[in-house]
Symmetry: C2
């Protein structure tokens, strides 16, 4: 059963990668004007780097949870899946800039401002963010509103600013939860809701998907904090990216054990909500969010 779901998710990941490549091959305006070649190359550098595609998978899994006809669900939800990965990728490009986290490696490749230059990285991020809404328009105005609210000043961007401001400080657990709810959680929440919206979910289904996305986002963020420590140690660097930037993290505030327990509790809550939809793929994604932290 679990093996079958893994095969399914891997197949969907292939569809997402194909859709991302096709998007770059076809993006342009009504008069056939294509983006400048250098801009396309820059967008491809970041967008087509190997990624887990977790957020678009959440969109597709939520859509199939509501609309059991897989083919139709994927077809309807793919623009939203594409859009959320474009937004996620832009956020990584801008976060990595010298004025923000000043990172040099991402997804196994040099960051965009290292591989190209800072001006191109700023503009490629802007382009991916803007193009995301051109793609998402196909899913309707409610989907656009959902993603823009999640990614905007009161959501992801606000959380990113709070996160930078919290470097070197020790916020309360409640404050950290608020920062992460915005920085990471809102995009997962939007992913689950977008899938539901595209599949024609009713109000009750959307409420449950929103709650699922919220738990999943938090589980994912805490697991990420835990893995960052492990990765740092494994790479023999002593510390991971978070410690290097003196980020406020769950591990720093709660310690290893309590952070792990909290991640699993959040994942369990998300899995329970997925069971309400009898949705194996969605439940598997929720379980997977903390799998590597055991």
């Amino acid at each position: 059963m679990d093996a079958a779901v893994d095969v399914l998710l891997e197949r969907w990941r292939g569809f997402i990668d194909d859709a991302l490549a096709r998007h770059l091959d076809t993006v342009g305006d009504r008069d056939g004007v294509r983006p400048p070649a250098r801009l396309l190359d820059a967008m491809a550098h970041s967008l087509l780097a190997p990624g887990k595609r977790v957020r678009p998978l959440v969109v597709l899994a939520a859509a199939t949870a509501v609309l059991k006809d897989e083919t139709r669900a994927l077809e309807r939800a793919m623009p939203a899946a594409l859009a959320i990965e474009l937004v996620h990728t832009y956020s990584l490009i801008h976060d990595d800039l010298p004025a923000l986290d000043d990172d040099e490696l991402r997804r196994g490749r040099p960051t965009l401002h290292v591989a190209f230059d800072e001006a191109t990285a700023i503009l490629a991020g802007d382009a991916l963010l803007t193009d995301a809404f051109a793609v998402l328009a196909a899913a309707g105005a409610s989907a656009v509103h959902e993603l823009a609210q999640a990614a905007g000043s009161a959501g992801m961007v606000g959380g990113q600013l709070d996160d930078v401001a919290a470097e070197g400080t020790t916020p309360s657990i409640e404050a950290l939860a608020r920062i992460h709810a915005k920085k990471t959680g809102r995009l997962f929440e939007a992913g689950a809701v977008l899938g539901g919206l595209c599949a024609g979910g009713n109000g009750d289904e959307l409420v449950r998907l929103r709650a699922l996305g919220r738990h999943l986002g938090l589980a994912f963020q805490i697991a990420d904090d835990l893995l960052d420590v492990t990765a740092g140690a494994a790479a023999d660097k002593g510390t991971g990216r978070d410690a290097r930037h003196d980020k406020a993290t769950w591990v720093k505030l709660l310690g290893d054990e309590a952070a792990r327990a909290r991640a699993h509790a959040e994942a369990d809550a998300a899995v329970a909500l997925a069971r309400g939809f009898d949705a194996a793929a969605l439940a598997a994604l929720c379980r997977r969010s903390v799998a590597r932290t055991r």
Copy 2:
């Protein structure tokens, strides 16, 4: 007659300023989460700086050209007017960054990265761009698609990249027209179309508004190039911003006289299209685009 139109446009500009201020006072997500105070301050610094509000005025003028009931037209088109000014303001903030034009003054204020810092300027730009689509969702999915296409990789952002790449070169007139059509023209074009869409314009009306926006954008851009030279001389700096960056401009390629003639020809074409709508405000905006270049 012209005085009456000037009063009208000034009143609309007041409505736009009010709507921008109200937007910042109320922006937030469904749970009442507001943006971080520092992010709001940064967005306000750039958004509420005195501006001509030309692009949102184009939206409102196009809407009243189609729907003669002014109150209803303004009400329907205001979200799109707001959204286009948010997008324009983000583009100024990012263009001014050290990695791009590295400018220190804008709209009579220190640029955002000077007044705050580079990280905040990048994030405030991202936030304004994203929030624009949350606002624009109220105008429907077609409006979202129109603005995202105009501002994205094949539109404004692509034009900005081309513009940076053309610094220090002498492109052909055709190449410069293509760069400016993307960098400036597409947003004017979208403004005219958005106004028409919000007012329920038919296909023929939208086609004519698109053509009007295209001519108006080019007239505005050439006039801007001309004024930049004059402003630089008047400020006793010898050169304007464009010359400082060795930008490819109409003045540089055509000379003063021919550039002025081209600007007026484009404005005349736009005015002729506005007359087809019997739309005094729209015609006045088109004439005004080149008024200071005589």
